[in-house]
Amino acid sequence: MTMARTSKLVSLEDAVADVKDGAAVGLGGWIFHSQPMALVRALVRQGAKDLDLVPSPGSIAPDLLIGAGRARSTVCVFISFEQHGLAPHFRRAAERGSIQVHEMDGPGYAGGLRAAICDLPWMPIPDLATDLPKVNPAHYRPLPTAPGERRLLAVQPIRPDVCLLHAQQADEFGNVQFLGAPFFDVMLAQASRRVVVSVDRIVSPETIRRSNHLTKLPYALVDAVVEAPFGAHPTASAAIYRADEAHLREYVEASAKPEGFGAYLERYVSGAGENSAYLDRIGGGRLSELAVSESNVA
């Protein structure tokens, strides 16, 4: 008798079902690229609260969770809406003092992930003479160095309970392929206790093997994989669709007032329980425009 390989393919809702209140949740991607939005929307519907967010440089993924009242703290390496302004809910919560912000920089974030990946109590990084250790002594601690030696800080391990990532394709066993830059996603996956990845399409194992240089996350590093077409929307997914600038503007405008944001959440999150329902609300015409390559746009 031969054993079958284990499929890691699960539904969106199942993928986030066991995220507990108070969990540390890593969020992958980079600003308007590969934010794990279908998973984030499912997590908002699931209702887990008092989350400690650990976002890579991001935009709407942390901002939506903060706006929906799900986060008690967030690491901030960079949270921005770039050409659309500041991240509306993150900004408001930080200015009101209603969220704890663990201020970090790229070296501190990378060092913290490496410490977790390597099972080290801390990782040294250069002391770059910023104000970060003053406002975040829990993450940055001066290390003793001899006179004349380079000054160093110890950064604490960053080890999320679960991380949510979005990539372009995977097989059902969880071999995940990136058609663009993986940003911090591979480090975040290695540092996290549980790794959940949405992909725009599930492909066959033969397709994975044919271009195996694209597999940045082999299945040994992945716990669950979800097929969520346009799962990064309104952010971009490399080589498949571009960011939806109109929707990002709509989000920012809706976020100006509580009633506007309530309506946004009802329309796009709580009232759109399946990924297909969400995509229907965005509209097929709009989605097809996003799938057009920039190279072909005049």
Binding site: I31, L128, F183, V186
Partner: protein
């Protein structure tokens, strides 16, 4: 801007930066960096064909599309010479002293000694304005041989006596305080704004007016700066973009007119 030929603020700033970038230098461009990217690609077209730049987030080296795209945009991959994963870049971005000849940054606030703040205006615990955060700015300002700051607004809110949060060290408290803090030699070289080009006086390391942009008076520059600028003699006018610089920028670097649209 009153320059001849007429050009947008973003184009003017990109040209000022491009002139200072050397052939064979190594540079890094961060996220949301249209002017910075235009400056590097313009320098490559004109006088620095061996300038090498890498996208911080995406790892694409020397992508060259003739039009501006976000540095994180995967469309840059198809015209890049190399494509490096971020974890492979961390050692030379976050650690190595002087791997990069320069970085070009922007900021919410810049102070008299060229320190940068993109984190908060006001107190960190209850900020008046919560900015996006630090990302790679700390390493780029601390470890590059030099850095530039490009500002698309020049007023007392942006140029302040002391930044509310140091996320990118310039000359810290001036004098030799940068060296005393254990940082390698470097620091800000030029600040380019819609009003002028600024550098730092030897010794004090305080911001100094180098040239005034066309149509800008010394009084205006002083009024719109939140601290006393060092001014030595009568400041010369900034040389506006030449016809060749502007044509190259518009035809071969920013064919889509992103700078004109975003920074008119």
């Amino acid at each position: 801007m009153g320059a001849e030929p007429a050009c947008a603020t973003g184009e003017f700033l990109a040209v000022q930066l491009a002139r200072d970038l050397g052939d064979g230098e190594r540079a890094i461009i961060g996220t949301n960096s249209d002017i910075q990217l235009a400056a590097c690609n313009l320098a490559r077209r004109l006088h620095a064909p061996n300038l090498w730049w890498v996208s911080g987030p995406g790892g694409m080296a020397n992508p060259d599309r003739g039009r501006l795209l976000s540095t994180a945009d995967p469309e840059n991959i198809e015209t890049a010479e190399a494509w490096i994963d971020l974890p492979d870049m961390i050692d030379f971005i976050d650690w190595q002293v002087h791997f990069f000849d320069f970085a070009i940054l922007s900021a919410l606030q810049v102070d008299r000694f060229g320190n940068i703040n993109t984190v908060v205006v006001g107190d960190h615990a209850r900020p008046k304005l919560r900015g996006p955060g630090t990302v790679g700015i700390s390493a780029l300002t601390a470890l590059s041989k030099r850095f530039y700051v490009v500002l698309t607004r020049h007023d007392r809110g942006a140029l302040v006596p002391k930044v509310d949060f140091v996320c990118g060290p310039g000359f810290l408290d001036g004098g030799d305080s940068r060296e005393q803090a254990g940082l390698p030699p470097g620091g800000p070289k030029l600040i380019v704004t819609p009003l002028g080009v600024f550098d730092f006086a030897p010794g004090s390391r305080a911001m100094r007016l180098r040239s005034l942009n066309p149509g800008v008076t010394l009084e205006q520059a002083r009024d719109q700066t939140g601290f006393d600028l060092v001014v030595e003699g009568a400041p010369p006018p900034t040389t506006p973009p030449t016809a060749i610089e502007l044509a190259t920028l518009r035809d071969r670097v920013d064919a889509g007119g992103v700078l004109r649209r975003k920074f008119p």
